[in-house]
């Protein structure tokens, strides 16, 4: 799990650099993986809102749901559909979003 987290951090730094360079254009690669999370985790809802949260923490929690170290009702079933790179992308995309709209 530690090694994975280090990998996430490295990917996140390079993602952040790329996003900054892209200027205005939206992070479509993050959007087409992460926007489905908002269907359940919309701002202001009873299922923990995720937008604007710290990326490393999000990635760690997803990793935990995926490898079974963290229990849940539906998240383990969903997280098992994601690979390391997708988790890093999604975490970076969610972290970069404004908190409320």
């Amino acid at each position: 799990m530690k090694r994975r987290v280090i990998l996430f951090c490295a990917t996140l730094v390079s993602l952040a650099a790329r996003t900054a360079a892209a200027g205005d254009s939206p992070d479509l690669a993050g959007f087409v993986l992460g926007s489905a999370c908002l269907t359940c985790h919309a701002a202001g809802g009873a299922i923990a809102p995720l937008e604007g949260r710290e990326a490393v923490g999000l990635a760690e929690q997803l990793d935990g749901f995926r490898d079974g170290t963290r229990a849940g009702t539906v998240m383990p079933r969903l997280a098992r559909g994601l690979d390391d790179a997708q988790i890093a992308r999604i975490a970076a995309w969610l972290a970069a979003r404004e908190v409320s709209r």
């Binding site: 087409v32 926007s35 269907t39 985790h41 969903l78 098992r80």
Partner: protein, 424 residues
């Protein structure tokens, strides 16, 4: 849409729309996107098109002033919620810069890039998104025609039908029989009929405890079957009986005046005090009129961007589309709409759409404090949308009451969240 570069897009749009549309995109006037239908698919697509590219001129055509959702309409039928709980207006979408037009789309002229509305207005587009939901087939089962709908409500489109079924249940005598007859696949919301049976049983158990529910199914199995049957045995013992299609469940004819469903080549007649007949379905009428549907009644699409394979410049979303392994659900429609919005924005910019994942989760309430779910993550492989192996699945059969209670609470939280995500 990974292969769809700007040149491809322009070529495709050029075929569809002629030289004027090309000139428009070349001079960077705001691209015009028209969306037909403001349910889970259309409303989500309109909202996220504006979020991803605020320069787009997005017009959403919806015939209703407020939409009533099918999700949670089973609570209304069971007397556990009012219609206001499932009604959504359009202030949020308007605030997001979407132009909402209340009218019916009656024709699509793909060669000119134009949608014609019942009121006479014509809307020009560079891209069209069609998300009209379903049309009930009133020609499929003898006896179930337009008149039968008011005697034997389907309540498979929410609104007046939901309230009619509610009133019939309230008027039914104790000791009466409720017939529920679900169709074969594919149809809107595979677990929906069984959630309905559950919540109707919840109502009957409290108000008409001698009543019975008989489900006459066209199929030999159904979504989350083991979980539903476990829940029925625990909460409504002896109240719900399910008959598989091959065991005499398949309804061949209906007699609305007598409240009768006829099965087994006429050998058996089932009479109900309340009859909820859910007929086979097809893509909404505008999809048929626009030539988007094939002989199956549903619309074939490119799985990457939900572009119609039959009419260029048009995308089809939600229940109307043939979406590979994805079920026809509000969640699926919402998920497809987001990827479609991103695909349209990428194409307009000449970018390639990165690899996407789609998601679905269908919660069902066996009782207000008893929730179950089925979930999956999807991706495109071998040219179609398949579930990612190893992920997804249904709630565990051996879970305790606390797990079921938490999922019931998450079902309500999901409904609030997807409503906000869809209509703002």
């Amino acid at each position: 849409m990974s292969a769809l570069t700007r040149r491809h897009f322009l070529a495709r749009a050029g075929v569809a729309l002629g030289a004027t549309a090309l000139a428009r995109s070349a001079f960077a006037a705001p691209a015009r996107i028209v969306v037909i239908g403001a349910g889970f698919g259309g409303a989500t697509c309109a909202r996220y098109l504006r979020e991803l590219d605020p320069t787009l001129a997005v017009t959403l055509v919806e015939r209703e002033r407020t939409v009533a959702t099918c999700p949670f309409s089973n609570l209304v039928i069971a007397g556990l919620a009012g219609m206001d709980r499932i009604a959504h207006g359009f202030l949020g979408l308007r605030a997001a810069g979407v132009e909402v037009v209340h009218d019916s789309a009656v024709a699509v002229d793909a060669a000119r890039g134009e949608v014609r509305l019942a009121g006479g207005r014509r809307l020009g587009y560079e891209r069209l998104v069609v998300a009209p939901g379903i049309e009930l087939r009133l020609d499929a089962v003898p006896g179930y025609d337009a008149a039968a709908v008011s005697a034997m409500p389907h309540a498979w489109q929410a609104g007046a039908q939901t309230l009619l079924l509610r009133r019939q249940l309230a008027a039914m005598p104790d000791g009466g029989v409720v017939l529920i007859a679900p169709p074969g696949e594919p149809f809107r919301c595979p677990p929906g009929p069984y959630e309905r049976a559950s919540l109707v049983a919840h109502y009957l158990a409290r108000h008409k405890p001698r009543a019975k529910i008989l489900i006459l199914d066209a199929k030999d199995g159904f979504s989350k079957q083991a979980l539903f049957e476990q829940g029925w045995a625990a909460r409504y013992p002896g109240m719900i009986e399910w008959v598989a299609g091959s065991q005499g469940g398949l309804v061949e004819r209906v007699e609305p005046a007598r409240g009768v469903l006829v099965t087994e080549s006429g050998f058996t007649e089932h009479r109900g005090d309340v009859v909820n007949f859910i007929p086979p379905q097809r893509a909404g009428a505008i999809a048929q009129a626009a030539g988007l549907a094939d002989e199956s009644g549903w619309c074939p699409v490119d799985p990457r961007d939900f572009a119609s394979t039959r009419v260029p410049g048009v995308h089809v979303l939600g229940d109307a589309a043939q979406a590979g392994a994805m079920p026809k659900s509000g969640f699926s429609a919402n998920s497809q709409a987001k990827i479609c919005a991103a695909a349209i924005v990428a194409a307009l910019r000449g970018e390639t759409l990165p690899a996407a994942l789609w998601t679905n989760t269908c919660y069902s309430l066996v009782a207000p404090d008893y929730g179950i779910s089925v979930a999956a993550v999807y991706r495109v492989d071998n040219g179609t949308i398949n579930a990612v192996p190893g992920a997804g699945g249904v709630s565990p059969l051996d879970a305790g009451a606390d797990f079921r209670r938490r999922e019931a609470n998450y079902a309500r939280a999901w409904y609030a969240s997807i409503s906000r995500d869809t209509w703002g």
